[in-house]
Amino acid sequence: MLNPISVAFKKAKAENRPALLTYTVAGDSSKKQSLNILKSISKNADILEVGVPHNTPVADGSQIQTSAYRAIKKGIKLNDIFKIVRDFKKFDKSKPIILMGYYNMIFQYGDNNFLNKCKTSGVNGLIVVDLPWPENKDFAKKCKKKSIYFIQLLSPTTTSKRLKKIIKNSHPMNYFISMLSTTGGKLKVSSKEILKNYNMIKKINPKKEIVIGFGITDKTIGKLKSADGLVVGSAICKEITRSLNSRQNPVTNVSRLVRKLKNKIK
């Protein structure tokens, strides 16, 4: 059976648009609310990235940090996150879910234990921010055995020699970091420049799906439409924070934002 992540890309391509990937933090601002957000955005998002909050995140900007600390403060645990995924999959079985987090939490859970739990909960892919190639070789192999995509990160600082090696060893989907930044930074390079880098990566192996993330908002997403997929994370976390601060319902506000994002790339 084809991984639902690949199905999602196929579907988006058939509609002549990039796949829309959203990132929200599990447990932000509560377990129930984060599940409700996932349910409400799943109509417009093609792939759902679910952040596993960690309290020493070395690659996240302030928006995602705020969401992560909020979730941790509420006491979210890995097992709760698996439950959120399981509950979501009961609601929408075919929608792909990617967990994104830092390696220490997986390491403490135990690689095999973690992957078994991913499998039974319905996780389809993993992004581990601080487990780069080649350190991730063994872990990526274990993922493959479970038919879970291990998604490699590529950055503007990744040398072309390294790009080739990573892509050669990669699973069907990879993630290109648009610029030198933590998540949610202001897009400091032009979309033209980003797409130039993207196309160079794409050329190495056109069959691999490459999504672009970091710094993408409703203002910038339209200019990057030619990519296989686009990830919006911090802008959504920011919307949750804004909603909470103004005593509005994050579920409806985030849902509206994701619909808007989708309309921009149609």
Binding site: H54, N55, T56, P57, V58, A59, D60, G61, Q65, Y69, I72, K77, L78, Y102, Y103, N104, M105, I106, F107, Q108, Y109, V129, D130, L131, P132, W133, P134, E135, Q152, L153, L154, S155, P156, T157, T158, T159, R162, I177, L180, S181, T182, G185
Partner: protein, 414 residues
């Protein structure tokens, strides 16, 4: 797990940067892979380059002030009436602590790589102060990340950084101490690694930073070895080297040159921060058996909960207030080359009182932890045992805390 002889410990990691196959490594975002690799290539080349070593030594001698004193604490020796008590007064170094060695070397490397800005983290403020001094000396722009809680409790060092022209950036996330400062500094580097060099303030972080820092602070034991031979004619038959351990930079540097000696001749004792007596929180992952985990790019023993969230620490000394510990020390612990224990806040304060009562020496709260254990153990040791404590920082920065905890009379004399 085995320690190799005649190979510097900093070079005993495997190809992925793991000591003993499991401590250290490079758990970093992809963006940092290239800058780290560049730094590795540069450092591996320069550490073998005679010209670079001469340049380092020139700055260490003329600017840092080498060697720092090695003195006998006669009054304390008489009072303790056991082993001989000596101290290596590393706080003599320019700026008042050992952090100057690592800062100097990082600035020299930054200059060689053509970077114009250097960023760094700081806990007690020493790493930041020294980096600001070195940056000024070498004409680099400097940004220091410091937890808001530490900014409040280590004001003298904050003032010094600002005076040196550094930008001090307060970090409000998490526990607002060193652990968050290091995270924020790494985040800044992720976003600015094309123009900016990073200096990690201790023997922590991705493997190359552990190595550079250990290589730099080893100046302490190079000096001590010569001073011991000067004083005793040879390395004493019973030598015990006590040092506080937070991240582990001063202790590693204090021990490195003695690594190949049998531990029955030269014993290493690392003293971690046990925190307040009545608190369950501490900054002593080695002493209290914390599990191995990943923090700031390296696998190490680290205080964490069962889910892998890093736990908050508590210690009177900002410089030791770190939930993890250098991979080098994890390696020295598991190979049993060094022994680790902890002293509480109260014990460190009592040692500070005792040392200042008998000697003209004002160790900061960090080395006061080491003094406590050393003086306690020295009582039971023979007179021909030579106990040396690294007084790696000066208490000037702790004025506020000392006044609050011990009263004004312990501050005046500073």
């Amino acid at each position: 797990m085995k320690l190799k002889k005649r190979v510097p410990v900093i070079d005993q990691g495997n190809s992925l940067g793991f000591w003993g196959g499991k401590f250290g490594g490079n758990f970093v975002p992809e963006t940092l892979k290239k800058p780290i690799e560049d730094l590795e290539i540069l450092f591996n080349k320069l550490k073998k380059d005679r010209k670079f070593i001469n340049e380092r030594d020139k700055y260490f001698k003329d600017w840092v002030g080498s060697p720092t004193r090695f003195i006998k604490l006669e009054n304390l020796t008489n009072h303790i009436n056991g082993a001989q008590i000596w101290s290596k007064v590393v706080s003599d170094a320019n700026g008042g602590a050992h952090k100057i060695y690592n800062a100097t070397v990082h600035c020299l490397l930054a200059k060689r790589s053509g970077k114009k800005i250097i960023c760094g983290d700081t806990g007690a403020g020493y790493a930041g102060k020294m980096l600001s001094m070195a940056a000024k000396k070498f004409g680099l722009k400097c940004k220091i990340f410091m937890g808001a809680k530490d900014i409040a409790r280590q004001q003298p060092n904050v003032k010094a950084m600002k005076k040196n022209g550094a930008e001090v950036i307060p970090v409000y996330s998490g526990s607002q101490t060193l652990v968050d400062a290091v995270s924020e500094c790494m985040r800044f580097w992720v976003a600015n690694c094309d123009t900016t060099a990073m200096c990690v303030g201790s023997t922590v972080g991705p493997a190359v930073f552990v190595r550079i820092c250990g290589w730099s602070t080893s100046q302490i034991s190079r000096e001590l070895k010569a001073q011991l031979i000067d004083e005793f004619g040879s390395i004493p038959k019973k030598l015990k080297l006590y040092n506080c351990v937070g991240g582990g930079s001063s202790s590693f540097g204090f021990w490195n040159e003695f690594m190949d000696y049998d531990k029955r001749q030269v014993e290493f004792i690392g003293v971690e921060a046990g925190g307040p007596k009545k608190s369950k929180k501490h900054a002593a992952p080695l002493t209290y058996g914390s599990k191995i985990g990943i923090l700031h790019g390296a696998a190490q023993y680290v205080n964490q909960n069962s889910d892998g969230q890093i736990e908050e620490t508590e210690s009177i000394s900002a410089g030791l207030d770190y939930p993890g510990i250098s991979p080098l020390h994890c390696f020295l612990k598991d190979t049993k080359r060094a022994r680790y224990t902890a002293a509480s806040d109260e014990e460190a304060l009592s040692a500070y009182k005792l040392v200042t009562k008998f000697e003209k020496l004002r160790p900061s709260l960090e080395p006061s932890h080491a003094f406590f254990v050393a003086l306690k153990e020295a009582k039971k040791l023979s007179k021909d045992t030579v106990v040396v404590i690294n007084s790696c920082g000066d208490a000037y920065k702790d004025r506020g805390i000392l006044e609050k905890r011990l009263g004004k009379k312990y501050v005046k004399s500073n």
